[in-house]
Symmetry: C2
Subunit: 117 residues, 2 copies
Amino acid sequence: MTQSERLDRTFAALTDPTRRAILARLERDKDGASVSDLARPHAIKLPAVMKHLDILDEAGLITRTKTGRTVTVRLSPKPMREAMEWLRRYERFWSGSLDRLTLYAETKEAEARKGGK
Amino acid sequence: MTQSERLDRTFAALTDPTRRAILARLERDKDGASVSDLARPHAIKLPAVMKHLDILDEAGLITRTKTGRTVTVRLSPKPMREAMEWLRRYERFWSGSLDRLTLYAETKEAEARKGGK
C-alpha cells in the first residue's frame, strides 16, 4: 500500500464523530477498552459499533485482542502520525499569518514611539 | 456548524489523492493558481476537477476569486489547523513510545556497565 492509499484510509476513518469519539476514549484508556465499554456512550446498536471498529481496524488505528469471550480494543495511533505529518506542511501558513501580524503590530508601535505619542 | 461537523467535512475533503495534490500545489503557489493550472497534472476531465474544487471550497479549504474570465484558486488552510489540533493529542503516544524505548536502552546500557561487560 502506498503512502497516499494509507492517507486515504486514515482520513476516511476519521470522517465520523463516533469513530473519533472511540479513538478519543482509547486515548484516555491506556489498557484498552472492551467493545461494550466503547459502545455504551453511543446511541447506536452494537452491530453499528462493530462496523465502526472494523473501519478503524482496517485503517490500522486500533488493535483487537480476544481473551476468552472479551475483546480488548487498543489504540494504534501510528497512521495518525503520518496524517499529522501531511498536515504539518500547512502549519507555516497560519504561523506565517501570525508572523505578519506581529510585524504589523511592531511597526505600528515603532511608528507611535517615533511620533512621540 | 459545530467543531465536530467541521472536522467531518475537513477529513472528508482530505480523503482523496487529487484533492490533496491540489492543496499541495496551492501550498507552493502563494499567489494562487487558475483552474486549468490545477487541472493540468491530473488525468481527469475539467468537470471532475471542478467537483473536487467544490468539495474543497465547501470545506473552507480554498477560496475562488473571479477576475474577468479567470478564476484564481487560493489555499485557505485554517480548517486544517483544527484537524491538526485534533490529531495532536495522539502525539504523546508515539513520543511516549520513543521515551519508553530510550529508557529501555538506557537501563540495558546501565545493566551492562554494572556487569562489567
